[in-house]
Symmetry: D2
């Protein structure tokens, strides 16, 4: 239960960062959709470590194996299980951490929750768990594309550097995944400086879905805003989410933020494509606050399991800014959420074939 998201497009991840592997089961993929495993791999390559100078230098091939649910190139409508083996897990790097609670990490809360934990890295709290999300997201994107929904995303802020434009074609051309080429250069400098200082920096990621028809989502507990909020805040290291005008609307008036609609288009999009929890046909826009990575090389005071404190210097190979790698994950979470909302709308209004 606690490892699943979605009600009709149910995505369940499994695997510890330093166990045999990580993976996912996707239950609810509609049948008859052409699925190219190379597309899944391509999305995983966007997430994997070692892809650029800005990310961690750990090398994991992250080759995906599809274990079920596809037959002769199309989805069967049955669960699609996918597995990625762990290969570059230097577990010995972690032996010194067996009884240390690293600052900002989930070590202490995990120990308190379970009474037992795999101290080698973050276990389930590790960013590695998102491998399964991205693989599932590739399926969702494939299915959504059949009805014209397209999802893009990028890093729009790193520390105090903000993207001033949204040129989504630019995103894959720079290692920060920023939709503003000029800002990207400065963001990269900020990230490199953080790495040099054995520190890390935070940022903001923005995700946008176009082609979403009006009518997806629900009016109360399952508002599309709420489901997107849960999806985004389930990504490791995220601590905030806003839709459309978001926190900025706190400072405005109703006459400014009521999106005027002429029956075809909206003059503004403060609602971020969602009115009363239900998509209204405008672009769905979400921004996610990403905290600075908690794994840093600088010496830090840390509590020890038996009591007392020690000093830790986390010497593993880590990301000084995780935003570039959060982008494909957040896109995936957008895709999973929309996929689920789409299927629910089909249940509500769909006609049988």
């Amino acid at each position: 239960m606690s490892s699943s998201i979605g009600r009709l497009f149910v995505v369940t991840t499994f695997g510890e960062s330093h166990g045999p592997g990580v993976g996912v089961v996707v239950d609810g993929m509609p049948p008859g959709i052409a699925v190219d495993p190379a597309v899944i791999q391509r999305e995983l390559d966007r997430r994997r470590p070692g892809q650029s100078a800005l990310t961690t230098q750990r090398q994991e091939g992250d080759k995906v194996e599809v274990l079920s649910g596809l037959f002769e190139g199309v989805s069967l409508g049955t669960p699609i299980a996918m597995l990625v083996r762990n290969t570059d897990a230097r577990s010995q790097d972690y032996e010194a951490l067996r009884e240390v609670f690293r600052p900002g990490h989930a070590d202490y809360s995990t120990q308190q929750k379970y009474g037992v934990r795999d101290h080698r890295g973050g276990g389930r709290s590790s960013g590695r768990e998102t491998v399964g999300r991205v693989a599932a997201g590739a399926l969702a994107k494939t299915a959504l594309a059949t009805v014209g929904v397209r999802i893009v995303g990028g890093t729009v802020q790193v520390k105090d550097v903000k993207a001033m434009r949204r040129d989504w074609d630019e995103v894959e051309k720079n290692p920060v995944r920023c939709p503003d080429a000029q800002a990207a250069t400065r963001m990269a400098e900020v990230i490199e400086a953080a790495r040099a200082a054995q520190d890390s920096v935070g940022g903001v990621v923005e995700i946008l879905a176009s082609g979403v028809p009006a009518g997806w989502g629900d009016p109360t507990m399952a508002k599309l805003d709420a489901l997107l909020g849960a999806a985004m805040l389930s990504i490791p290291a995220t601590k905030g989410v806003e839709i459309g005008g978001g926190f900025g609307m706190a400072e405005l008036t109703g006459s400014q933020t009521n999106d005027v609609f002429d029956g075809e288009t909206f003059r503004t999009n403060f609602s971020g494509g969602i009115a009363g929890g239900i998509s209204n046909g405008a672009e769905v826009v979400v921004r996610v606050a990403v905290r600075p990575a908690t794994s840093i090389g600088k010496p830090q005071t840390a509590a020890k399991q038996g009591g007392g404190t020690t000093t830790v210097e986390i010497k593993g190979r880590h990301d000084p800014c995780i935003c570039p790698r959060v982008v494909p994950v957040a896109e995936s979470m957008m895709a999973l959420t929309l996929m689920d909302a789409w299927l629910r709308q089909r249940a509500l209004r769909g006609r049988e074939k």
Copy 2:
């Protein structure tokens, strides 16, 4: 499904704003807990319209009737259904709106979703749906109090006026429900000015839970952050949520935001009491962005159902700023979320911590 929240403490609301009534079924209340119906009523009184000069002047007594689940003063462990009749629904106010999609409202998206709607007010999208949430929240607060969890909240921003202190005892002493008495006065002025201008203003609400033990929440899809995010963004008119340091952390470094812990207390609380999705024993802190109320008196261009546009002036009695009334609702959503996390931790470990 779409009207329920929670997995073990399942809260399902029902009712349209202009139908016979609104209510809630709470399934999962542990047995043997002393419940005072007057406490439920008191919470509803904090939410109801007409409670102060700053809120809408609609008068609804909002008297709650408990239909099941209590016996001789204690919970039976069975579903607790509660009903509040609608009494002051001036449906005729809405007849002119039968075929108009009000700007910023859910009218259009609702029509596209269902193909039919109750045009008299917001139906399920109305703030009136939150009556059931607050009644359920009173139960959750009662149960959580038995293990020392206490929830407080207040309005911390209205337009550009921000609370500079957090004196939670101050909240019920001013109509804005602001924990800073001085800021409250200025906030009230801003709200009155908006009402005079037939406009509305946005704001930010902050909710805090103390006494939450370490170990509640889950490490992946059901992170406590994620569930709180969904809970808050399911409240009408909310468009953003942040936990602990939130969006502010985007501009900081890991060495600043890694909350140093000595085994007993945290030096900072950028994590907002949640590390890796699991409570860490610090206070749980959430802020919610509230958009300006969409019902305003100013003339606005609106699309018509058959095509074309018209001008609407929403002449009903509405809130110029909904933050004061969002406070008890957001407290309730915090309570529902923590209640669910608590029960799930009991299932996992078999004893209370």
Copy 3:
């Protein structure tokens, strides 16, 4: 959670037998379906006590009030809450039973589960809880009828008297609700004899759905057989369920029970309309074993809450055979199950409007 059934057509009942009332929330009714409240009442009248000489003589009008989800004669697609007040609850009849665990009843198991209970009648275990199921079933039947699904049912066995024919038009013409008029007469005699002896008798109820298209249900955990099994065994006093050939197939061979199919019709229906968990287009046939009512007037030994035993004679007004009243409940559970399977198939294959 534990009071709900269904995943897309979610039915949640509430209410104790001797509290203010009993009711139900139906979440997932598709919008735009014409619903006549008189039809709901008619179904409740088939379930209510006092309807014939064979049933309990308790008199409860069981008038239903629809609290939400309907507007101008059609469903809104929002939760439909329905309430029936309890009126004829002679609670004083039960005071002597405050600390007695009646044999066969749920008194002891309920006390062990919750540590507290409403001793006045069965509380949630009472047959009265099925009021909400029947009200929900009326909605499901109405919706299913729009796609040609029709559900009938009847008592096919009382003690050793078995119906030899299935004339479904006969059912409402005799108080046993037996589809065989001749058997009905003998069944009535058996039931009257049980009443005279202050005892009760068991029986079997059969439910049949026609017009179910091939393709509803799922191949593994959510087999249509499994969901029907759960639905039927959630009815009070049921202790067995079989689909199609059921237990009789244990004695046969594959060459006898493999339903030969020519592409249009099945020569036999041992599968009961469900192959591999998925409807195959034949009639869906379910039989339910109903135990003798546990409330009997005969003196019985009963355990006492503090320890020791006593003798009880349950002098309330009870049903000597509950099969006639189980029929509308079991029909309803068939309808709820098919409704849910239909919506799930729409999610899987449906096209949006």
Copy 4:
């Protein structure tokens, strides 16, 4: 969703019979429980084909790989994923069946449901899907054993041969898995005769759980009877289930079947250990009707996908009676159901009883 069972102990299977492999994800295993992978393998060996002369002669090693959730010999409280590769899939045996709907099989209903199918064997409808259930069941049995719950089961009927005793230690000593050694011999003869005739026979399997404390299960929709019913009827080829007295109680009276209780023990167990949906402390007893295997060698008329009929002789290596192999699967489903009920009771009351 449709491939999962359980609400707190969530078991999701994946895999087609002729794809790369089959497996399961178990989400909700409590942390800190010692798990021996050899125990999982031993249970799978009881289920696998080729284990005796009475079962199919297909040879699949069915070696399980645990992919996650265990660390240093104990459960982490995180998802436990397990994979068994398919090795002996003679897919070419099935090429002739690409457009044939085998009688009694799910071929036709599957095609109607999904519009596409893996024609090589039963896909998800195959008995091979139960590999994951048995692996999950081994975990559940291990956890339940820590609180004294023990599950046994056996074949109690094959065609018209019935077990007259319940000597559970006998079960693993004969290939029929019958708790009555004498009956086992006659059952084996019946099965061999069916194989010689290229036919198959049905039977009944009985499962018993001892040590279940009073208080597990729920009073309405989630009655323990209902959840067991769903669990059992989700096993391929099952078409009936009964608890305790089951269908036999239809012929009895209340004074016969009301289990007299003296506060410590029950004189009879017609309730099968469950009163009002909640365990009462007596042994939980369930019987499952198993239809004759649908794969038989005898020539049969079969519909073709494009229209028209043909004659099929299913020449694969199949089980003439699947009861012996259903036993470990049904035990597993009992274990999964009790595990879930146990965790739910822990959530409700916060401590183990």
